[in-house]
């Protein structure tokens, strides 16, 4: 534990405050969660709570939810939510589940922050590492981030993916590689794209192994981790096929993300591009977009080898911009990890611009969507333009954070350059 003194009372107060905020909105403003569920910025075709309810309804009435175009989420959600009391009569249990998922995410984030991995990893120790925020502040920034609260209120199932990813990282930094791999398998099972986090997560787990149980050979360690993920995923798929009675969930959940057959608008760049794409080039550009998304993993992992947590953070930001169905939930996950790098904030160059662009897009996005869909005084280009701005703002943040982290690394070699003007060649 570092500087900021955290008493158990304050911890409990933070979590209780976050839980009360969510539950109070759920119960006191019952229309607001439904309104948020309908927002395209929060609910995407692969995370929407309304679609989950439809899938659940079909599942409980013995119609395969995957034999239709509405439900594209993981099959194991169906038995999970069937166990809860009926949403229409007793919604409080669903609210509690979502609130608990958010609190668990915050707990994992707290662990990551307290481990100090962001400031000093196994291979690199930042000279600035003393200047950092405590787990309390970082958890609070996550729990009271409006994007996180809105996602939780909108009951998007990406809440569970976020929770699984954060737990995977928390396990990895606390020296539990198997736990990390199992958590990542769950995240990948729920949303598919977290599978791309596997290489940096293996490196992170490798670096943070407990000395008494350490595997020296990196290849052997990576192979073990990969096989654990494959094994857990195989078990999850097998269970899913038992639950739904067939394998048709595969094309309907992961196939939809791969082929983008549902073009519902969202804050990402894919939907309008593929609405306007010529049919003969559709598969080509789908492949290009996916390759582009995957291409960051290798480059970042190698270049920032000494700080795997940075790679994970940057990838989170990139996924939040470039994955097929992004929502503000992905941004909230990225923004939850960014405060871990409090020590490099002074090295960032465009903080004001980034904040301004993100705020601009956050406020204008819903307004432009309204103009297009409801008022009819704007057209699709309005919303498309704002998603471009949103994407550019986030990519600016990713680039700026990356620049700051790399400059921080460089200044270890050139301590005399602190505070000097530099350039890149």
């Amino acid at each position: 534990m570092d500087g900021a003194m955290v008493t158990p009372g304050r911890t409990a107060g933070l979590f209780a405050g976050a839980a009360v905020l969510r539950l109070a909105i759920f119960t006191l403003l019952p229309k607001l969660p439904d309104l948020l569920t309908g927002r395209v910025e929060i609910s995407t075709p692969v995370t929407s709570f309304k679609r989950l309810q439809e899938g659940l309804f079909l599942y409980n009435h013995n119609v395969s939810p995957y034999d239709g175009g509405v439900y594209h989420q993981a099959p194991l959600f169906l038995p999970l939510f069937s166990l809860l009391p009926d949403f229409s009569s007793l919604p409080i249990f669903t609210y509690l589940l979502y609130t608990a998922a958010d609190l668990l995410s915050a707990l994992a984030l707290w662990k990551i922050a307290d481990s100090g991995e962001a400031g000093s990893s196994a291979l690199f120790t930042s000279p600035r590492k003393g200047k950092r925020w405590s787990g309390f502040i970082i958890a609070a920034l996550f729990l009271f981030n409006p994007f996180t609260v809105a996602t939780c209120l909108g009951r998007s199932t990406s809440v569970f993916t976020t929770c699984a990813i954060l737990h995977a990282i928390a396990k990895a930094v606390s020296g539990a590689p198997f736990g990390a791999m199992i958590a990542l398998s769950f995240a990948s099972y729920l949303s598919m794209y977290p599978l791309l986090l596997l290489p940096p997560l293996i490196l992170l787990s490798y670096d943070r192994q407990r000395p008494e149980r350490a595997t020296k050979s990196g290849l052997k360690f990576a192979a073990t981790c990969a096989s654990v993920v494959a094994g857990v995923l195989a078990v999850l798929f097998q269970m899913s096929s038992l639950v739904t009675g067939s394998w048709e969930f595969l094309p309907s959940t992961y196939g939809v993300q791969l082929t983008l057959s549902d073009l519902t608008p969202n804050v990402g760049l894919w939907w309008y591009f593929f609405v306007e794409m010529f049919d003969s080039f559709r598969s080509f550009f789908l492949a290009v977009f996916w390759l582009h998304l995957a291409s960051y993993v290798g480059g970042l992992t190698m270049r920032i080898r000494r700080q795997p947590l940075v790679v994970l953070t940057l990838l989170m930001g990139i996924f939040g911009i470039f994955k097929p169905y992004p929502s503000i939930s992905d941004t909230s996950l990225f923004l939850a990890l960014v405060p871990l790098y409090r020590h490099v904030f002074p090295l960032m160059r465009y903080t004001f611009v980034i904040a301004a662009v993100i705020l601009y897009a956050s406020f204008l996005g819903p307004a432009f969507y309204h103009l297009w869909i409801y008022a009819g005084s704007g057209n699709a280009n309005f919303f498309y333009a704002i998603t471009l701005v949103w994407g550019l703002g986030q990519s600016l943040l990713v680039c700026d954070l990356m620049f700051a982290v790399l400059r921080d690394e460089w200044e270890v070699e050139r301590p005399e350059m602190v505070g000097k003007e530099i350039r890149q060649i």
Binding site: G69, Y272, F403
Partner: protein
Amino acid sequence: MGQFLSFLWISIFALLAFSSPALGADYHEQLNLRPLPQSALLASFNFRSNTTVSEFEKGNFRFFPRSLGQILQHAGTRELHLRFSLGRWDAESWGARPWNGAREGGTGVELWAWLEAHADDEADRKWLTLTNALSGLFCASLNFIDGTRTTRPFMSFQPEGDHSTLTNMHLLYGVLPHEVVCTENLTPFLKLLPCKGKAGIASLLDGHKLFDASWQTMAIDVRPICSPGQECVLQIEQTIDMVLDIDRSKRPRDNPIPRSPPADQLPCDTSKPYHSHDTCFPADHTANQDWSLSQIFGKPLKGTCPLTDPAVPPVCLQVPDSRSVFVSEGAFERKNPDQVSRCYEIPPSADFEMALPKPDSSADTTTTAVVAPETPLLYAERSFTGHGQERGGVQTILRNPSPDTDVEFVYMETLPWFMRIYLHTLQARVAGDARTPNSTTDDNKLVRQVYYRPAVDRARGTQLEVRMRVPPASTVFVTYDFEKSILRYTEYPPDANRGFDVAAAVITVINPHHGEGGGEGSGDDAGGKLGRVAAYTLRTTSLLCSLPTPDFSMPYNVIIFTSTAIALAFGGVFNILVRRFVAAHEGPEGGLGVVLGRVKGRLVGLVKKGVEG
């Protein structure tokens, strides 16, 4: 020449009738005219012909149209129903539908058929053959009935004919709500008739009048009919029902634009106390119904079709016996014992004209002018709720007018795939009943059974069949939510902002005196068979659903802008990853200053050379 031909036809017919007396009634046609309230007239044309199954299979088509027969044989179709419809039946004022709704379709084109096939794939192939062939025959876009517009109804339709076995029969149903029914569909329809449109009641049919009607539906039904002790026959029944607005029809063709009459000729209700030279309360339309055949159809009836069964009167009129009707010479009136209808025997080769004068002004009440319309078993109307192009809802209002009996029916929707419906939001509630819907599990539950096949994007439409009931003298609201999806820009029709047509909902009222399953009945005529499954059929109007549209003019711009955004992000990341950090004063010089310096040096060199040269 025409006379010779008709003589030839008559002699052939006589020969046939003589040689096989059982087949004498192979063809008949009848026109039923029924004045409706509010200046409307229902004209119901019915043409029916039979051919034995053995003759049909040998290819001996007598009255059965060869073109259609060959298509049916080729596509393995055992029973066929085809509908072309336009307009809306105003049940509130016109009452129950003709034929109890069995001979009508929703707006556009509807086709359902029982095909003989061993597997679903084979049925799909035969269905494709059938729709494409019928498309050519009827000049309609039936070939657009593809996988997304085809469903296999589970409860709504039952075969009307007698089939020895139903095991290999596949029912397929397709609907094109956007199809505009017009003259090019009428011409092939008339060509299927033995007398074409040349003689008999079909001579009244004219595209200008038919498609000007307030409501019209053309139906073709082909079904096998078996009666005990006789060979099975294949029956083709062609029906045209139309509701004409009498005022509109009487407007002369050379002056079709409605103009308000001079003030002194306005039909005013003079009994009103405030009636004066400058105030006018419109008189009841019913009181002014006077028309003649040639006024409303544009031409008189050209005799009878010589092939028709002489025992069936060709023209019938349903007005109270108290009204007087004038007919042309040679026609013979026969009043039916029910006091509200009469039929006419007409001379075979002379024009027939009929005129209905205004009812006596002394007794101008509705009861004496027209036969009071029968109350339908159920009223239904369907509409969209919500606003915006993101999501919406469908609301159907079903009203049971009967004071003491339940109405049980199957409500069927076939929706396009881009309307993503949420079945968990389906609710049925009785108007004025505050209880939570669907929560009661007792016998009073409104929804009895739901058959749902969800849509698959770009492959299959939604099929929803709900068996439910409406308690006596009450109104039930059925609602559900849906989401409008955005399509690829090539999937929008040319006028994308007009919206997409959503097919009519089909409501089949189940006959209360009959158990489920449509068991084997003795069935001596089509009406009897129809009655054993569906007591009444009605269709709601079709709906127009507007989807969000992209900007069609800028695919290139979008590709360029998105690619630029991606390039900026990727370029930024790549730039930072691969380049080295140096202090500002270290490393090679670069940037604009260096380039400018070089260019300056070159220029200076050139100038010097020039000066030296």
